[in-house]
Amino acid sequence: MANVHASTTAHDVDHVDHHDQPATGIKRWLFATNHKDIGTMYLVFSLIMFFIGGAMAMLIRAELFKPGLQLFDPEFFNQMTTNHALVMIFGAVMPAFVGLANWMIPLQIGAPDMALPRMNNFSFWILPFAFTLLLSTFFVPGGMAAGGWTMYPPLVLQTGDGFPMLIFAIHMMGASSIMGAINVIVTILNMRAPGMNLLKMPLFCWSWLITAYLLIAVMPVLAGGVTMLLTDHYFNTSFFNAAGGGDPVMFEHIFWFFGHPEVYIMILPAFGIISEILPTFSRKPLFGATSMIYAIASIAFLSFIVWGHHMFADGMPLAAQMFYMMSTMLIAVPTGVKVFNWTATMWRGSLSFEPPMLFALAFLFMFTIGGFSGVMLALVPADFQYQNTYFVVAHFHYVLVPGAVFAIMGAVYYWIPKWTGHMYSMGLAKTHFWLSTIFVNLLFFPQHFLGLAGMPRRIPDYAVQFTDWNMVSSIGAFGFGLSQILFVIVIIQCVRGGKPASAEVWDGTHPAGLEWTLPSPAPYHSFTTPPDIK
């Protein structure tokens, strides 16, 4: 049911003006129900969190610059690694994808807004509260949680007064994600313009439809798991305490049953974005669009049956090792199909290299490298050497940073002229791209060597033979972190002004998608009447 508001009741006078102009002042944002405003808030929030998580990473890499402890206590270092991950995963990457979903799904399916605008507002506003709670654990006795973002018991139960704050923050983040996912599914299944059948729907919307189902399936499992941690700590249950009949490894199962689909939640929307950007700048349709959709669905299905690969070295029985090894390796097949199809999209195309395309190409190369290390990690005997070393750290950072984060940046560079109506400085954006790419490789590639050479992860200090690569990696980190300032500059300049963007924005590329039929900037209320789908 469309949710275009009636605008004539008297008591609406104080609320949002339902004609073309948004409300003014703080009310516009606090009471936002417009998908564009909420999308903007998610994106701004995620950018702030990216810098906070990034600052933690800078502290980590500063300590790891040389062997010996120069800067802080090992406990603080563990707090940094733990919260860096929590902030980046739950505060930067996931909200960024939700922000992009909010902005783009209604535009791409020809809907006037999301199906449930007030729930949309609530989903967003939970997040600043959740992260205030999480980050304020810094100030309580015992400090921030330091047991890893994976929160394994019994270690995590040694957290001080910040422990219930951590648990409740995670509950809030989970609730936000679940509600956001519900909104996405209801919107996509109910509000597509007439004539847009599912197979005509853009890949970005498809990727989000599937991601939303993953979120609804697994966030409650995380909630259950962390609640069990809470009751073990305060209410004398023994879920994870062998003395009471429980098992710490059961937490690992519960966590990773969430955790593995979670990493696919963080990459499937990225796949959708790349499938939007590459065809535009190749001036050629996406190769094998239908099989791309099937590939996303297969990856999502398989993601539920591989979680054991995070636990190979924890005393897993033989049959389980075999099963998880094979199911994990199997995911490489549909993922490979996607990489090949993207390459085939470029093949015999007509390529131009605007900033979104640069990020998409970097994604293609570097996500594939992350995929190779993933296949290696799937092999159980080899995993015994890689597990909990920097080889794993290198793998997941390759798929998450030049993977998911670059896709997000590419998406912002792709769609921001549609959002603001202004083009941005191509020179600055390309400089941001090149600096980011060079430094991200300096940062993470040597970590493969460190892991293979024997350096464990989550250590603040290391044996001297690991010095050189750690130094290179830290230099990469400082360079990468500083380069992101350019991103902020480009965005701020673009919001404030710039050459007017046409409806098509990327002239000559004739991008597919309903969003390019709207003027730039897209009107505050767009598609109030459904478009004609040819």
Binding site: S282, F340, G454, P460
Partner: protein, 337 residues
């Protein structure tokens, strides 16, 4: 007695037996020759150079070949898969780079918009990767079977992880030997925040302990691993052996060091376990079976003179406070020692 041992890992940083770095009363540090003067150090330096030429230990970029059959199998699997990935990368990145160079809009390339699907090609590039994965999985599965076969072990040792040290309790013929293994004092001093000590001056910085685990080469050693508090993990890269230790549960792992590869091997805790997770290393001193038997005798003589006589080759008598269980008694009878 010690000259024939192959130093592993970081011979050029000095060997704890032939050289000791001590802290005198004035707090200043000095290297002192051990029992045999500087001769062992020179021999080790020579061996160290020779050992580096082989792939026993990591070259800083890659996995170590290691000193057990399992580590060698893992290394081979790793290299096979690595080269397959390189091959695939050459093809895929090659196609991408070719596209970037040849199909440029700026050079007038015109897009072939009809090239947007081909079921045939998609089937090929679904099936070929699946076949490649099967090719990788078969050797991997065989190695898993080997790793999980802990039967017929000749020496079992209970390993307990603590925050932040390891405890080793020997079983079978070495029953009664029980000690903790903690980060060496000079490393511990150096790693303190603002210690002012350059880690490069500490031999085997963060990879040295006060009492290493001593095991015989050419013997199937089985570790029974548990924890006293939180999850840790026991890992020695040169053995290809890593397993988590979980409080309240016992995990198993086995290895057999190749005969002729006696020496010192170093590893670390490989599961976040709290503040000093990075500071609870593992050092294994691999000796020949005869040297090991001698060491066992010495240990027992030092602790319980009355037990020593009963030690080697017969049913172990229970030590004070030490619970001998049926499994220990059974494996002691089966042990060739």
């Amino acid at each position: 007695m010690n000259e024939s041992r192959q130093p592993a890992f970081f011979a050029n940083l000095g060997d704890p037996i032939s050289m000791k770095v001590t802290r005198g009363d004035d707090g200043r540090r000095a290297a002192q020759p051990g029992r045999f003067g500087f001769a062992p150090a020179l021999c080790f330096a020579a061996f160290g150079l020779a050992a580096r030429a082989g792939a026993n230990t990591s070259n800083g970029y890659n996995l170590p070949l290691g000193v057990t059959e399992l580590s060698r199998d893992i290394y081979s699997l790793h290299m096979e898969v690595f080269w397959i990935c390189v091959g695939i990368a050459v093809l895929v990145f090659g196609a991408m780079i070719y596209s970037l160079l040849k199909f440029r809009h700026s050079q007038g390339a015109v897009a072939d918009t009809t090239l947007s699907h081909s079921t045939q090609v998609e089937i090929i590039w679904t099936i070929i990767p699946a076949v490649i994965l099967v090719v990788m999985a078969i050797p991997a599965a065989k190695i898993i079977l080997k790793i999980e076969d802990t039967r017929n072990s000749e020496l079992s040792i209970r390993v307990t992880g603590y925050q932040w040290k390891w405890e080793y309790q020997y079983m079978d013929a070495a029953e009664g030997i029980d000690f903790f293994s903690t980060l060496a004092r000079d490393s511990n001093f150096a790693r303190q925040l603002h210690s002012g000590i350059d880690p490069k001056t500490v031999p085997n910085y963060l990879l040295e302990v006060d009492k290493p685990l001593v095991i015989p080469s050419g013997t199937k050693v089985r570790l029974l691993l548990t924890s006293q508090d939180v999850i840790h993990a026991w890992w020695v890269p040169d053995f290809g052996a890593k397993r988590s230790v979980v409080p309240g549960f016992v995990n198993e792992l086995w290895f057999r060091i190749d005969p002729g590869k006696e020496g010192i091997y170093r590893g670390q805790c490989a599961a976040l376990c709290g503040r000093d997770h990075g500071f609870m290393p593992i050092v294994v001193d691999v000796r020949t079976p005869d040297e090991f038997k001698k060491w066992v005798g010495e240990q027992k003589a030092a602790v319980k003179p009355a037990e020593a006589a009963a030690a080697v080759g017969s049913q172990p008598a229970p030590a004070d406070g030490y619970i001998a269980d049926r499994r220990t008694a059974r494996s002691a009878q089966a042990s060739p020692n």
